[in-house]
């Protein structure tokens, strides 16, 4: 069998095998039970003392949200401050300038919402200080924010009636000290020993073998790349992200980075089962997510490995696949696998340029972000999935003529309204944003000529991709788009902001409302969630709500391009 295919099969299997024990560990950590990592207790107590936090105080769902939003607001101002002044601050050996306000706004929001859309290039747009105290800091804390919000929902789904759902700061700090920091340290060490730089020295000047004078950008990359993947952030140290030979130097680092970014979202699913003591429930969730993932993966791998027919026609040998925008050390299969894992999961790092992928692959990547619930980002992936579960429970309830119940709690009008607003917000933001951009472009094609690197259907896909990526808090791009302009900086900034916080507020609110309700013990008439039947139901709800809404847009972009090529 082809070694490229064996490679991706092994990457996937090792992710699942590692996620199982990690899921069990997460459940232990969040339940507050004893674990091997209890030696970190003093560090955490120190953090609570420095923060002036009473760790024993439990919070209602509203208090959770207030704590979460306040601390996020603070981070936004911190990021704006540093980005707008980085040119005059220390740790800037390459003398890079401060950001313009619109670019700083876009960048601050982008990292605050765990999206990591980048309208700058790391080599020229950031100082080492910003890379460390803005980018890397937010990559840690926003991942932990998502995980903490997810645990609030887990807590609310337990078999009881409760007003208070644990302490936000405890979930948040534990996510950092017991999960993200130790794992990042391990991944960063692998990267450093494989050749990723970890230095505060500036660019190195080199005269090459042929006598060309070039410079080589470096920096404290190893530490940041680790949390970039583990926290499903995706914002690269260098402009080319994980396609850059220093950010991702070997096939081994590629495998490690790829495992790292899928690991926690997958482990969260297992953690759900252990935490609620309903292992079958997590198998149902895992089954639905994996089915959706494989459905998007298979065509992408096929088309990338079979190459571009237009290039074959020009007399090139396409047996190694479509190589435009790809690195030889990864090959077509690992690039396709990376592309899909990074879009179904809202990580959005790239190891090949999605803009140059075949049209069907581009469409599968778009669909991964449009559904945004097949694994999904750390914590928030499950929150998105949870919204679809609520809708599926409601529809199933109507189909069999019973009051819809979710794990022993009645679902009523209020919860349904919130769920539907969250579910429909996503297509609204994407389609309205794309429509406005297309309108602007069509009205002034010369004024906005710098926007699109490719003409025709593909140009439309570039705009669609940008908004999809922003709304999914993904951050990857069809990078041919000339996106550092006020329109793109501001419009995607607003989309990212709405698309991050409403899908956190919504599910936490639903969970909080449900937690208060009377617990109805299971009986013969209960709709059971942990069955294959219900799994199929959720699967179709996701496809109908999240995918069909986009069909006309997909037909105008990638599908139309596909049929011009084949």
């Amino acid at each position: 069998m082809n070694t490229e295919l064996i490679g991706i099969a092994v990457i996937f299997l090792s992710t699942v095998l590692l996620a199982l024990p990690l899921g069990r560990y997460l459940a232990v950590v969040y339940s507050g039970d004893r674990s091997w990592s209890d030696f970190l207790g003093p560090l955490e107590r120190g953090l609570y003392r420095l923060g002036g936090i009473d760790a024993r105080q439990e919070m209602t769902w509203q208090q959770h949200l207030r704590a979460l939003l306040t601390i996020n607001l603070l981070w936004f101002f911190w990021a704006m401050l540093v980005l707008c002044t980085q040119g005059s601050l220390p740790l800037n050996p390459d003398g890079n300038p401060s950001m313009t306000p619109d670019l700083a706004f876009n960048t601050a929001i982008s990292f605050l919402v765990n999206c990591n859309l980048q309208h700058y290039s790391g080599e020229t747009g950031m100082s080492y200080l910003s890379q460390t105290v803005v980018v890397m800091f937010l990559q840690f804390v926003t991942a932990a924010t998502g995980m903490a919000a997810c645990v609030v929902v887990f807590n609310a789904l337990r078999e009881r009636s409760a007003e208070r759902l644990g302490n936000f700061y405890v979930y948040f700090v534990h996510s950092l000290t017991r999960v993200l920091l130790p794992l990042s340290l391990a991944v960063a060490l692998v990267l450093a020993f494989q050749g990723t730089p970890m230095t505060y020295a500036g660019k190195a000047a080199v005269v090459t073998v042929q006598g060309d004078s070039v410079q080589v950008s470096r920096g404290p990359a190893a530490a940041m790349v680790a949390i970039k993947e583990l926290g499903t952030n995706g914002g690269g140290f260098f402009g080319a992200n994980s396609a850059h030979p220093l950010e991702n130097p070997t096939y081994l680092t590629n495998a490690v980075e790829n495992v790292a970014l899928v690991l926690i979202p997958l482990a969260m699913v297992f953690a759900l089962g252990y935490y609620l003591k309903r292992p079958k429930l997590s198998y149902m969730v895992l089954g639905v997510m994996t089915a959706g993932f494989l459905l998007l993966l298979a065509p992408t791998v096929y088309y990338e490995m079979h190459g571009n027919p237009a290039l074959a026609h020009l007399g090139t040998n396409q047996t190694l696949g479509a190589l435009e925008g790809k690195e030889m050390r990864f090959g077509a299969a690992a690039s396709a696998y990376w592309g899909i894992t990074n879009t179904v999961i809202s990580c959005g790092s790239v190891n090949s340029m999605h803009d140059s992928h075949m049209p069907v692959s581009g469409m599968c990547e778009l669909l991964g972000m449009m559904t945004n619930a097949f694994y999904g980002g750390v914590g928030v992936g499950f929150l998105n999935f949870f919204v679809f579960v609520v809708i599926a429970v409601f529809i199933s309830g109507l189909m069999v003529g019973r009051t819809p119940e979710l794990l022993g709690k009645k679902i009523e009008a209020r919860e349904m309204k919130i769920a539907l607003i969250v579910a429909l917000l996503h297509p609204l933001l994407i389609l309205a944003g794309t429509a406005m951009s297309a309108h602007l472009y069509a009205g002034h094609p010369t004024e906005y000529a710098g926007w699109l690197a490719n003409p025709g259907f593909h140009g439309f896909s570039e705009m669609l991709y940008e908004f999809t990526s922003s709304a999914a808090n993904n951050g990857s791009g069809f990078e041919g788009l000339g996106d550092n302009t006020p329109w793109w900086n501001l419009s995607t900034g607003v989309v990212m902001l709405l698309a991050r916080f409403l899908p956190i507020i919504g599910p936490v609110a639903i969970a909080g409302l449900l937690a208060r309700k009377k617990y109805i013990p299971e009986s013969a008439g209960t709709l059971r969630l942990d069955t294959a039947t219900f799994g199929v139901m959720v699967f179709f709800v996701i496809w109908i709500i999240a995918a069909l809404a986009f069909f006309p847009a997909l037909a105008l972009g990638p599908l139309a391009e596909h049929f011009t090529l084949y």
Binding site: L74, F140, R218, A240, L323, M353, E479, E561
Partner: protein, 189 residues
């Protein structure tokens, strides 16, 4: 609001020290023990630093094995792909020009067999590798230009093919910088 603002502020400061001070310091310390000491692995030839082992550089002279087209001209001060879509007519025109140039320089290669990586730009613009096929396709030209026996040059390529990770995972590659330095050594340059 105030109940949440002060803890948020103080906790953020503490975490800034932990995540942006302690954690990178640990990685930085460990990286001193790594190859290249965390500064990137440099390659020297005859006492002169000629590049970084993992960062590709431009080879476009016919007496060297050539590297792939690059959107940033192999200047690692930046990095980028071409971001050309697969059906872009301008792009297809450009590839056609590259194919023509390649066939002219390498007449031993049959039309239809031009290695795809030699006419397409990489994702980073800094790809240090070729596939073994991409290197073998240039053997005749390089040997002719250097007055070496093709069999010797082919053997040199074969010695520089890096097999997939533990022979099973991923593609085989050739590092062009290493290959070209070995080639210079073979020619006594």
């Amino acid at each position: 609001m105030k109940t949440y603002l002060f803890p948020a502020f103080r906790l953020s400061l503490a975490l800034l020290v932990l995540c942006c001070g302690v954690y990178p310091a640990l990685v930085w310390g460990a990286a001193r023990l790594a190859p290249g000491h965390g500064e990137g692995v440099q390659v020297s030839y005859k006492g002169r630093v000629v590049g970084f082992a993992q960062v590709g550089q431009k080879f476009d002279r016919p007496e060297y094995f050539n590297t792939r087209p690059s959107a940033v001209g192999y200047n690692a001060a930046g990095s980028a792909g071409s971001n050309k879509g697969p059906s872009n007519p301008e792009y297809l025109q450009e590839v056609q020009t590259r194919v023509g140039a390649f066939l002219q320089q390498n007449p031993a290669v049959a039309a239809g067999q031009v290695p795809a990586e030699l006419v397409t730009a990489s994702g980073s613009g800094l790809d240090p590798h070729l596939s073994p096929e991409g290197a073998y396709a240039q053997v005749e030209r390089v040997a002719r230009r250097r007055g070496l026996a093709p069999a010797r040059v082919r053997a040199l390529v074969a010695a520089h093919v890096k097999e997939p990770l533990v022979w099973f995972f991923g593609p085989a590659t050739v590092n062009v910088l290493e290959l070209n330095l070995a080639l210079d050594k073979l020619s006594g340059l």
